[in-house]
């Protein structure tokens, strides 16, 4: 026996209810399996076809997950550096996330996810121009939201944002006390309403 819970020797009698419940269980678990099978990429066309009837279930119950924790490789961390110009002309700067002010740690992590998820859409500055232009259409609306939130929270007039990819040192570099430069990608300067020309 390889069952995982402690049983009392009293199974239910067969019946229509059990058959119907079995169908519901199979349908639910099929959705749970199809979700990570269909994304993130790479994924088969078949899995994407199979996903379609499960979209209401997976969306409605927040089950549409890929479960690729730290896969395929743990990569470098990211943050969004910001500089805000206030109405009196002074400026204020900071980063998302910021371990010094984002407490408790769960709040830090929820803000950290903003940088990490947008970083997944922003190509490096040396990427081909057509790749950067195509990606920009995806990340720009999200970055505008980040800018708007910062302007609201700080009462600012305009904000300049940069994506920072923090250098991930190898073991040898740490042993020798060496490091490397962070990769900085400008995201733009945004005013209270929309992006500045």
């Amino acid at each position: 026996m390889i069952h995982g819970v402690e049983h009392a020797p009293r199974p239910l009698r067969p019946g229509l209810a059990r058959v119907l419940l079995s169908i519901v269980i199979i349908g639910y678990l099929a959705g749970v399996i199809v979700a990570p099978l269909s994304g993130p990429p790479p994924a088969s066309d078949l899995s994407r076809v199979l996903l379609q009837p499960f979209r209401p279930l997976l969306g409605g119950l927040y089950l549409s997950h890929g479960y690729r924790f730290f896969a395929p490789n743990p990569g470098p961390g990211h943050s969004i550096r910001w500089t805000i110009t206030l109405p009196d002309g002074s400026s204020r700067s900071g980063a998302i996330p910021d371990a010094r002010v984002d407490r408790p740690r769960l709040l830090y992590h929820r803000r950290f996810m903003v940088a990490e998820k947008i970083a997944g859409l922003v190509p490096p500055p040396d990427a081909p121009s057509e790749v950067r232009a195509s990606a920009r259409a995806e990340w720009l609306p999200l970055v505008k939201g980040v800018a708007d939130n910062l302007l609201r929270a700080h009462g600012g007039e305009r904000v300049t944002l940069e994506m920072v990819e923090h250098y991930l040192p190898g073991p040898d570099e740490v042993v020798e006390g060496r490091g490397g430069p962070d990769l900085v990608t400008p995201l733009g300067t945004f005013a209270r309403r929309g992006r500045l020309p």
Partner: protein, 325 residues
């Protein structure tokens, strides 16, 4: 003349027998009456974590759920599957409404943890978690995935039948109806879902060279953004990094198969505690680590909890004898 099973062609009998064996095994797996005590323990852990998570959402409610937050309501579709990924925060047009809904989430989670009006609390908690996660997809991570999976099990099963105010006030049936096979269905859903999570997480890692090379743990340890405990001293111990990485990979890939046999289950559960506590302590994701440990409790038999609750020692035979009443 009536045909008896012995008169049927021999070739059909094995198929019938095979199908019958499948039906019997399916019924035994899903539809057996079990003690809901493990589900109650999971309910408490989930309720506490959810209450804390809901409070943290409230700390910056306008940024997470407001019209001028991290993600404008009109841009949510860019990150999730609209219209299916609904949220009651879409209807919250002003800061007061956002806070009322956030406060409702906290209340429901607290009631779930203490087991008061448990079925309703579990349902509202699930709706609250789904609403928060679907409204703020820029801010979600594995903690929300795990809590959602647990809450579905708690809605399905009689999670308030034990260790609850409901049970004290109304008896064992007060926390979610008569105790029957629902507890087993709920625990099975959590167990199978957990196996799906580890299977796909492990398979995803098999794409990565750093997991095969045994260096992936270094990538996590050296990442300053995650770090809460400095593990860079591991740089001087590359073989230890290899061992930790490969053990983690093997554990995750094999979990879905080896957590079921009684012989390997304690080992895999112990490894789960080590891995998730390690992630929590060193990478600052303690809530996520604890949520995964709570999910793994679905594999701890009721006999173990009964002994723990009566301050009796848990012996190896108690832990391994999981299929006995």
């Amino acid at each position: 003349m009536i045909a008896t099973p012995r008169d049927r062609p021999p070739s059909r009998r094995p198929l019938r027998s095979w199908l019958s064996d499948w039906a019997t095994a399916w019924n035994a797996f899903w539809f057996t009456v079990v003690d809901p005590l493990p589900l109650a323990v999971i309910r408490f852990g989930t309720g506490v974590l959810l209450a804390w998570s809901s409070l943290v959402w409230l700390l910056d409610a306008d940024a997470f759920f407001g019209p001028r937050g991290w993600l404008a309501p009109g841009d949510v579709w860019r990150m999730n599957d609209q219209p299916w990924q609904w949220s009651w925060f879409f209807a919250a047009a002003d800061p007061t409404a956002v806070r009322v809904l956030g406060g409702l989430s906290v209340c429901a989670a607290v009631l779930l943890a203490i087991g008061l009006a448990t079925p309703l609390a579990a349902l509202v908690s699930l709706l609250a978690l789904v609403s928060a996660a679907n409204r703020a997809p820029l801010n979600t991570f594995g903690l929300d995935d795990t809590l959602g999976m647990l809450l579905i099990g708690l809605v399905v099963g009689p999670s308030g039948a034990r260790l609850s105010i409901d049970a004290r006030l109304f008896g064992a049936g007060g926390g979610g109806g008569a105790v029957g096979t629902r507890a087993n269905v709920a625990l099975r859903l959590i167990q199978v879902h957990l196996c799906v999570i580890y299977f796909f997480s492990g398979c995803g890692k098999l794409f990565g060279a750093s997991w095969w090379e045994g260096t992936a743990i270094w990538g996590a340890a050296a990442n300053v953004q995650y770090r809460t405990l400095d593990l860079t001293w591991l740089a001087a111990h590359p073989l230890a990094v290899n061992a930790i990485t490969l053990a983690t990979l093997f554990w995750e890939v094999a979990y879905a198969a080896l957590v079921w046999p009684r012989l390997t289950r304690p080992l895999f559960l112990a490894m789960a505690v080590a891995v998730h506590l390690g992630i929590g302590l060193t990478m600052g994701m303690m809530e996520f680590g604890l949520a995964m440990i709570v999910a793994n409790l679905a594999f701890v038999p009721a006999a173990v909890w009964r002994r723990l609750l009566t301050h009796r020692p848990v012996t190896a035979p108690t832990f391994l004898r999981t299929d006995l009443a």
